[in-house]
C-alpha cells in the first residue's frame, strides 16, 4: 500500500464517472493533436535549405504568369545564388496529381529533397519529353523507366490543338526527407514551352535561392522592387510562407488551433474540476478520518493532485494515440495538398505542460477544501 495505489483505487471508485470524464479529456486532446499535426505541415514540411529558397510569383495572383526572362534579371541581384522556375500543368492520368513543368537545368539542383539516381537524372535532362515521377506514382500505375504515358491537361492545349500530351518516363524519385510526397510529376519546361499553343516564354513562378550570407528579407524586397513598375509586378516570399498562405486561403489554421486550444483547455478545466470537486466532496468524511489518523493536509492534497493528473494524463495519452492513428489516414488523404502532416515532439511537450497545468488548476478548489477541513466538524462532533 502506498499513495499511488491509493490514488489508483480512488480513481476507479466511480468507474462510469471516471470513464466519461476520461473520454471527454481524450476527445479534447484528440482534436488538439489533429490540429497540431496539420499546423506542423504548414510550418515545417520543407527541406532544411528551404529558408534560403524564395518563391516569386505575380503580385496579383498565382494564376498570372511571369516572363521567363525574369530568371536572368533576378540572378543578377546581389545575394541571389541561383534561380529556377516552374509552371503548373494541371494534368490528369487517372487522378489529378501535382504536375509541374520545370527548368531541367536547375530545378533538381535546387530542390534536393527529391532523391533521383544520377544516371536517371542525366537521362531525363537529355530526353525532351521525359518525366520524373514519384515512387508512389510508379507503384500506383506500374510505370517504369522507358514507358510512354499520356497526360491530359485541364489548362494547356498543345500546338496540335489537343490537350493530351505524350511523355516518356525517364526517372523515378524518392522522397529524401519523408516530408515531401512521392506523388508528383515533373517534365522539362523547355518542351512544355515550345509545344504549348499559347503563353509561351512565361512561367507560373520563379524560385530564387538566396546566398546563405545574404539577408532573405532584403533580397526579397530587392526582387519585388526590380519589377515594381512593370506589368509583371512580383511578390516574393519564402517557400514556407508561401505554403502557409496557400492553406490559409481556405482557413486561418493558426487561429483555429489557438481557439481550439483555448476551448479545449477551458472545457477540460470545467469537466475535470467538476469531477474532482464532486469526488472530494463525497469523501470528506474519509479525508477527515485520514487527518485524524495523522495524515497531513499536504498528503491529502497530493492525493487529489495525483488523481487529477492521472485522469488528465490518461485522457491525453489516449487522445494523442488516437490522433496519431487518425493522422496516418489523414496524411494519406492530403498528401498532395498538404504534405508533412505529423505530430512533433514540441506538441507532446505542450500536451505534458497542459496536463500539469490543468491538474494543478483542477486541484486548487479541492485543496482549499482539504486545507480548511476541520476534523471535529466533519466527523460530526458538536458540543
Amino acid at each position: 500500500m502506498n499513495i499511488f495505489q491509493l490514488v489508483w483505487r480512488n480513481s476507479f471508485r466511480k468507474k462510469t464517472r471516471f470513464s466519461l470524464t476520461c473520454l471527454s479529456v481524450m476527445i479534447a486532446f484528440f482534436l488538439f493533436s489533429i490540429l497540431a499535426g496539420i499546423n506542423h505541415a504548414l510550418t515545417s514540411n520543407v527541406s532544411s535549405n528551404n529558408q534560403y529558397r524564395l518563391l516569386t510569383s505575380h503580385k496579383i495572383s498565382l494564376a498570372r504568369s511571369l516572363p521567363i526572362n525574369y530568371q536572368q534579371k533576378i540572378i543578377a541581384i546581389a545575394g541571389v545564388e541561383s534561380v529556377s522556375y516552374a509552371s503548373w500543368f494541371g494534368g490528369f492520368f487517372k487522378d489529378e496529381t501535382n504536375q509541374l513543368a520545370v527548368d531541367h537545368n536547375s530545378y533538381f539542383e535546387m530542390f534536393d529533397e527529391y532523391n533521383i539516381p544520377v544516371s536517371q537524372l542525366e537521362q531525363w535532362k537529355k530526353t525532351r519529353t521525359g518525366l520524373v515521377i514519384g515512387q508512389a506514382i510508379a507503384n500506383k500505375y506500374g510505370w517504369k523507366i522507358g514507358d510512354k504515358v499520356p497526360l491530359i491537361s485541364s489548362i494547356w492545349m498543345n500546338r496540335e490543338g489537343i490537350f493530351t500530351w505524350q511523355f516518356t518516363v525517364s526517372a523515378i524519385y524518392q522522397s529524401a526527407d519523408g516530408a515531401s510526397n512521392e506523388k508528383q510529376i515533373f517534365f522539362q519546361h523547355a518542351y512544355f514551352d515550345k509545344s504549348r499553343a499559347y503563353a509561351r516564354y512565361m512561367v507560373s513562378w520563379l524560385t530564387p535561392k538566396v546566398d546563405e550570407q545574404a539577408d532573405v528579407d532584403e533580397v526579397s524586397q530587392r526582387i519585388d522592387k526590380l519589377f515594381a513598375n512593370s506589368n509583371g509586378a512580383t511578390r516574393t516570399t519564402t517557400e514556407q510562407v508561401f505554403i502557409k498562405e496557400r492553406v490559409q486561403q481556405f482557413v486561418d489554421m493558426a487561429m483555429v488551433i489557438k481557439l481550439v486550444v483555448i476551448a479545449v483547455f477551458f472545457t477540460l478545466l470545467l469537466i475535470v474540476c467538476n469531477t474532482m470537486i464532486q469526488s472530494n466532496r463525497e469523501r470528506l468524511n474519509e479525508s477527515a478520518m485520514m487527518k485524524a489518523l495523522g495524515f497531513s493536509s499536504r498528503f491529502l492534497i497530493a492525493q487529489v493532485y495525483l488523481e487529477s493528473f492521472f485522469l488528465l494524463a490518461l485522457g491525453a495519452l489516449l487522445g494523442c494515440i488516437s490522433a496519431q492513428l487518425c493522422l496516418v489516414y489523414v496524411r494519406h488523404l492530403f498528401t498532395d495538398f498538404l504534405p508533412g502532416i505529423a505530430i512533433d515532439n514540441v506538441h507532446y511537450l505542450n500536451v505534458t505542460l497542459l496536463v500539469f497545468l490543468a491538474a494543478t488548476l483542477c486541484s486548487l478548489l479541492p485543496a482549499l477544501t482539504l486545507k480548511r477541513l476541520t476534523i471535529s466538524n466533519t466527523l460530526g462532533a458538536k458540543a
Binding site: M1, I3, F12, L293, G294, S297, I375, L379, A381
Partner: protein, 240 residues
C-alpha cells in the same frame, strides 16, 4: 505494573475553555474544565447530549483546539503544536475509533489497517506483518482481504479498532464505538477494548451513552455531575 502505570498521568486538561461561534451567538461548551486520566485507565465519559463529551475527546486527541487552557498528553502540551506537528503527534500517540467506522471503501480490511502505517518508516513487508497482527488481535484475520461492504457492522468496527491500535499508540479514543451495533456485537467490542486495556496497557477514553459500557470501564465519569461537582469545588475554593 498496573498500579505503577496508574500513578502516572496520561491525560491532563487544565482550565479548559471551549466555545463555538454559531452565527452571532457564542456557544460556551466548557468553562474552566479540568480532568486528569492516569495511564492504563479505561474511562467512560457519559452524560446527556450537548454537554461536550465528543468535544473533550477531540481536544484530547488534538482534533480540535481549546479556546484557552492547556491539553497535556504524557509530558507533551499539544494545544500549542502547529498543525503539521500535531498530525505527526497524533499518528504516533493516538488511536481513534468512531461511531461510524469511516473505513475507506476502496481498501480491504488489511489495506485499511495498513493505512496509518504509511506514516511510519516501516517497509511494505513490515506494514503487512503489523496489519496482520492487529487484525489477528481483533479476530478479523480471516477477513483481511474483504472490502468493508462485505463485512457486518461489528466486523467493520473491529477493523476500525485494528486500525486504531496498529501503530501501537498509548491512548485509544473511542467516540460511541457501539452506537450503531446490536447488544451482542456491542458487548464483543467492549470486551475487545477491555482486553486492549488490561492485557496491552492501553489508556482508553470512551464517550458513550451505553449504560452497559460502564460495566467494562475502570472509571465512569458522568459529565453532568462531574461539571457540577467541579463548579462546586471551585466556588468553595473561592469562598475560602
Amino acid at each position: 505494573m498496573q498500579t505503577e502505570n496508574q500513578n502516572k498521568i496520561a491525560i491532563q486538561l487544565k482550565q479548559i475553555n471551549k466555545s463555538y461561534q454559531k452565527g452571532n451567538n457564542n456557544v460556551v461548551v466548557h468553562e474552566n474544565f479540568n480532568l486528569s486520566i492516569a495511564e492504563g485507565e479505561f474511562v467512560a465519559l457519559m452524560g446527556p447530549s450537548g454537554l461536550g463529551k465528543s468535544t473533550l475527546l477531540h481536544l484530547i486527541g488534538g482534533l480540535d483546539l481549546p479556546t484557552s487552557g492547556s491539553v497535556i498528553i504524557g509530558e507533551q502540551r499539544i494545544d500549542t503544536l502547529s498543525e503539521g506537528k500535531l498530525s505527526t503527534w497524533r499518528a504516533e500517540n493516538i488511536g481513534f475509533v468512531f461511531q461510524s467506522h469511516h473505513l475507506l471503501p476502496v481498501l480491504t480490511a488489511q489495506g485499511n489497517v495498513e493505512l496509518p502505517l504509511l506514516l511510519t518508516p516501516l517497509n511494505n513487508k513490515q506494514r503487512k506483518q503489523h496489519a496482520s497482527l492487529a487484525l489477528r488481535l481483533v479476530g478479523m484475520e480471516e477477513r483481511a482481504n474483504h472490502l468493508p461492504k462485505e463485512l457486518s457492522g461489528g466486523q467493520e468496527q473491529r477493523v476500525a479498532i485494528a486500525r486504531a491500535i496498529v501503530s501501537d499508540p498509548k491512548i485509544i479514543l473511542c467516540d460511541e464505538p457501539t452506537g450503531n451495533l446490536d447488544r451482542k456485537t456491542a458487548d464483543e467490542i467492549l470486551s475487545l477494548l477491555t482486553t486492549l486495556n488490561k492485557n496491552h496497557g492501553k489508556t482508553i477514553v470512551m464517550v458513550t451513552h451505553d449504560l452497559r459500557a460502564s460495566e467494562y470501564a475502570s472509571r465512569v465519569i458522568d459529565l453532568e455531575q462531574y461539571i457540577d461537582a467541579s463548579k462546586q469545588s471551585q466556588l468553595s475554593a473561592l469562598e475560602e
